[in-house]
């Protein structure tokens, strides 16, 4: 992998050198992550299918700035790669806050350098993690799963801390040794997920718990996809809110912003709740008093959701219309409102998960 990245970076720099040596203004061509190049398929999620190409050209000041910025970014990426060093987006921004770049590459804000990272991804056709720019890793996996990661040690995901194994920035290095879970439930919120672990549900019901902690990070989505590729059924459990719909859909289909990065969608994953049916006539129908009102921001998000390609299917639009109509949301903490005692809480979790896993994935626990 490292060799491939190095090869690609050198290839880009060579192209520039050749153009210049021929007395031409250098040009770099790349497939932009524009609407025209992104396709959405319900069964695969977002797909990046380059049809049109853009050019970064060294003949205009604006474009030349981008060109030199990209080359600088690539040279720094190669330097980090060769030295086994990683950097964050913030680091990358600071690599440009250099005295000698005053008036040229010195950025006004991080947005500038972030945009250039995406450009580098498109140019090289690989995710930024491949060329040493990692995200802040976020997310844990707990359960009867044995794996080996870059450290080379065997790890049991139910024996490494109370929240499980912290999924690394580049999960590609992981190999699974043994998977003893029937399914993995990816949970948006830390609190309820920890409770399930604390109540011993993963051991008792042979399921894995993946803790997303908000929007699923790239590394977590990649990791879930790897589990899915190993044949593990994946369920997604989130709040019932306009934002949580996006979180669930991003796990299933990937997002527009990272559509050009492969392997982030988990099309086999199923959204198991909280759903509007649960609130209206199902599991939580007696507890409507525990719902929360939508904020103005929430409502705006619901309106925007009407146009997101990965939320167009009727199952999603049905959920979303409920927000627009009722102006309410339900949070996972609603279990607490139903069961102030620990024993009741465990019963309710198990009841809910059994019903949902059976219904969505045909799995009995």
């Amino acid at each position: 992998m490292k060799d491939l990245v190095r090869e690609k970076i050198i290839q880009v720099a060579r192209k520039v050198k050749e153009d210049i040596d021929k007395g031409r203004f250098p040009e770099l061509s790349y497939p932009p992550n524009s609407k025209a190049n992104i396709k959405f398929l319900e069964e695969k999620g977002y797909l990046f299918e380059p049809k049109s190409f853009s050019t970064i050209s060294g003949d205009r000041v604006k474009s030349l700035r981008t060109l030199s910025g990209v080359l600088y970014g690539l040279s720094r990426a190669l330097d980090h790669l060769e030295n086994g060093l990683t950097m964050t987006k913030r680091d990358f921004y600071y690599l440009h806050k250099v005295q000698k770049f005053k008036g040229t590459l010195f950025p006004k804000e991080q947005r500038e350098t972030d945009a250039r990272i995406i450009l580098m991804e498109l140019l090289l056709g690989m995710p930024r993690e491949a060329f040493s720019i990692t995200s802040d890793p976020r997310g844990w996996i707990y359960g009867d799963i044995e794996l080996v990661d870059r450290s080379g040690r065997l790890i049991r995901a139910n024996e490494v801390g109370e929240m499980g194994y912290s999924v690394p920035p580049r999960p590609e290095n992981i190999t699974f040794k043994r998977i003893g879970v029937k399914a993995v439930v990816a949970i948006e919120k830390v609190g309820p997920a920890k409770n399930m672990i604390e109540l011993g549900i993963p051991e008792e019901k042979k399921i894995g718990i993946a803790i997303l902690q908000g929007q699923a990070s790239r590394n977590m989505r990649r990791f879930l996809r790897m589990l899915s590729d190993e044949g593990v059924p994946i369920a997604v459990l989130t709040d019932l809110s306009p934002w949580s719909l996006r979180i669930a859909a991003t796990v299933v289909y990937n997002s527009i912003n990272s559509a050009h990065v492969e392997g982030l969608a988990v099309p086999e994953a199923r959204f198991i709740g909280i759903k509007t049916d649960d609130v209206e006539e199902g599991f939580f129908s007696e507890y409507k008093f525990a719902l929360e009102p939508l904020t103005q921001m929430d409502y705006k998000a619901a309106e925007d959701n009407r146009h997101l390609p990965n939320l167009q299917a009727p199952i999603w639009q049905k959920e979303n219309n409920w927000f627009l109509e009722k102006k309410m949301k339900a949070e996972l903490e609603i279990f607490k409102a139903m069961s102030p005692s620990a024993r009741d809480l465990k019963r309710l979790y198990v009841e809910y998960l059994s019903m949902k896993l059976e219904e969505a994935l045909g799995i009995s626990i």
């Binding site: 520039v16 000041v61 604006k62 030349l64 030199s68 008036g103 040229t104």
Partner: protein, 519 residues
């Protein structure tokens, strides 16, 4: 004639009672007005002789007073035609009414000249004034005089003859009660702006503190003298018509019309008289009051007169206006334009405008507008002036100017006319007469177009240089990074040299240019 005497006495009395209107209402304003009246007198004297004016003004503080108005002495010396012994008392010892029967462009703000200033000095100090003058090669006469206010007659107290003059000159010395400290800025402003609009004048001012202000001439060239001509029939009011009738030597009304006005010949005279219902051969002396009114109304309503003769006007001209602006403001760009002659209410006028940019002109946070009327600077009430309103109304961004207030721009407006359309008795700003407004606007816009071209050229040059400079910096980064990655440095220098040539070589280093935005 009895009537004439009453007129003359009332002129002095008029001044005595209406000092405020003439600009003598307080010691500060009086100090400024005295300088102004005497300087304008001197400019006229030299121009009449066809000589580029050379004027020296000296002001001294003779005695400080508690109330802030000091006893001052002013001496103004010029190189004008010079006056003979007989001419001196008449020229300075008598206040004239503006009872001219002919039309010519003249300077004097109030038509009363320097005598007003001398009279003010006499009234406030009870001291005589002294006039020395001579024509070249003639005796120099020095006369100590006062004015008999009631009789409006000069009283020569002392007369001296001081040898023979090598050059023509006139020098006036007068005492007055005034205050220099607060008038200083106005006076210096006035002289500075006069130097702009009279670039062929040499002006020197030694102020009471011993500070010398020098405004040297930059050219000997003078605009052509205005010609004198008869009134245009549309340009007279009833009072003037009556005066013209009294002064006329014609026998018949028709003869009067033909000899007292321009643009009236046999045919026109007959048509006007028919309109007025007055027989052509009616004797002028027999005209009754009602008939004069009928004649006046006929002149008003008759609409076939040819436009007035504009050769009575003496504009400065494009070259001299630009010369004056360059001399005093040292801009990097100046463009002046003289509009063709035009007419309002029977009065011919010519508008001249100019725009200056950059150089020693700095942004002032307000519109920098210099206004002149008949070659006299107008210093006050700029915002009420027609030229200010016009300037405000123009969309300057069409001409590459983002803000008139925040850029180094000065505007100039000069109007010459036999009757300047002042808005108020203060005579500091020009009324928004539609005909004048139109000329000012066209004038400013013509200048603005030239400025736009100029700015386009320099900005383009700057942006090309800036572009070349940025290219060099960015390609240095490209070269370094490519070398860093591949181990080989691309020949960016060759590329840039072929693409930019001289610009690449000459592009300024060390500037802190900000780069373009991310696409």
């Amino acid at each position: 004639m009895r009537r004439e005497r009453i007129e003359e006495i009332s002129a002095a009395d008029f001044f005595y009672r209406n000092r405020a209107i003439a600009g003598f209402d307080n010691p500060v304003r009086a100090t400024y007005t005295i300088v102004r009246e005497l300087v304008e007198n001197s400019l006229d004297a030299a121009e009449e002789a066809g000589i580029p004016p050379k004027i020296m003004i000296t002001m001294e503080r003779i005695e400080r007073k508690e109330n802030g108005s000091d006893l001052m002495k002013i001496t103004v010396r010029d190189n004008g035609i010079g006056l003979s012994a007989e001419e001196i008392p008449r020229a300075f010892g008598k206040v004239f009414t503006s009872s001219k029967y002919r039309l010519i462009q003249s300077r004097g703000t109030f038509g009363l000249g320097g005598t007003m200033a001398l009279l003010y000095g006499q009234i406030t100090t009870n001291k005589p004034f002294i006039v020395s003058s001579a024509k070249k090669g003639d005796y120099i006469n020095r006369m100590t005089m006062m004015i008999d206010v009631q009789k409006n007659e000069p009283i020569v107290i002392k007369r001296e003859v001081l040898g023979i003059a090598e050059r023509s000159f006139t020098a006036v010395e007068s005492y007055f009660e005034g205050s220099y400290a607060r008038a200083k800025r106005k006076i210096v402003d006035y002289l500075y702006q006069t130097a702009i609009v009279v670039p062929y004048a040499d002006i020197m001012f030694v102020d009471p503190d011993g500070v010398v202000f020098l405004f040297p001439r930059s050219t000997d060239e003078m605009p052509p003298r205005p010609k004198e001509s008869l009134f245009h029939p549309k340009g007279v009011d009833l009072e003037l018509l009556q005066r013209l009738i009294r002064a006329s030597r014609a026998n018949t009304v028709k003869g009067f019309l033909k000899t007292s006005f321009q643009r009236i010949g046999d045919k026109t005279a007959d048509e006007v008289l028919a309109l007025a219902g007055i027989p052509a051969e009616k004797r002028l002396k027999d005209l009754k009051k009602e008939e004069i009114e009928a004649l006046y109304n006929a002149l008003r309503s008759y609409d076939k007169f040819m436009a007035p003769d504009h050769t009575v006007l003496s504009p400065l001209g494009k070259k001299l206006l630009e010369e004056g602006i360059k001399k005093e403001l040292r801009p990097e760009f100046v463009y002046a334009v003289q509009r063709p002659p035009s007419v309002y209410e029977g009065h011919p006028f010519i508008v001249e405008t100019a725009i200056a940019y950059g150089g020693e002109i700095k942004p002032a946070g307000e519109i920098q507008l210099y206004r002149f009327a008949n070659r006299i600077p107008l210093l006050y009430d700029a915002t009420a002036d027609v030229s200010y309103q016009v300037a405000k109304g123009i969309n300057w961004s069409n001409y590459g100017i983002r803000s008139l207030e925040e850029e180094p721009i000065a505007l100039f407006f000069h109007i010459v006319s036999t009757k300047i359309p002042f808005k108020t008795v203060g005579k500091e700003y020009i009324a928004a007469v539609p005909e004048v407004e139109r000329e000012v606007e066209l004038g400013f816009k013509t200048c603005a177009r030239e400025l736009k071209l100029y700015l386009y050229r320099i900005r383009r040059k700057e942006s090309l240089a800036k572009r070349a400079f940025l290219f060099r910096r960015f390609y240095e980064i490209v070269a370094e990074c490519v070398e860093d990655i591949t181990g080989e440095r691309p020949s960016v220098e060759v590329l840039l040299k072929t693409r930019f040539g001289d610009l690449y070589e000459g592009s300024g280093e060390g500037e802190d240019n900000s780069g373009g935005e991310e696409s």
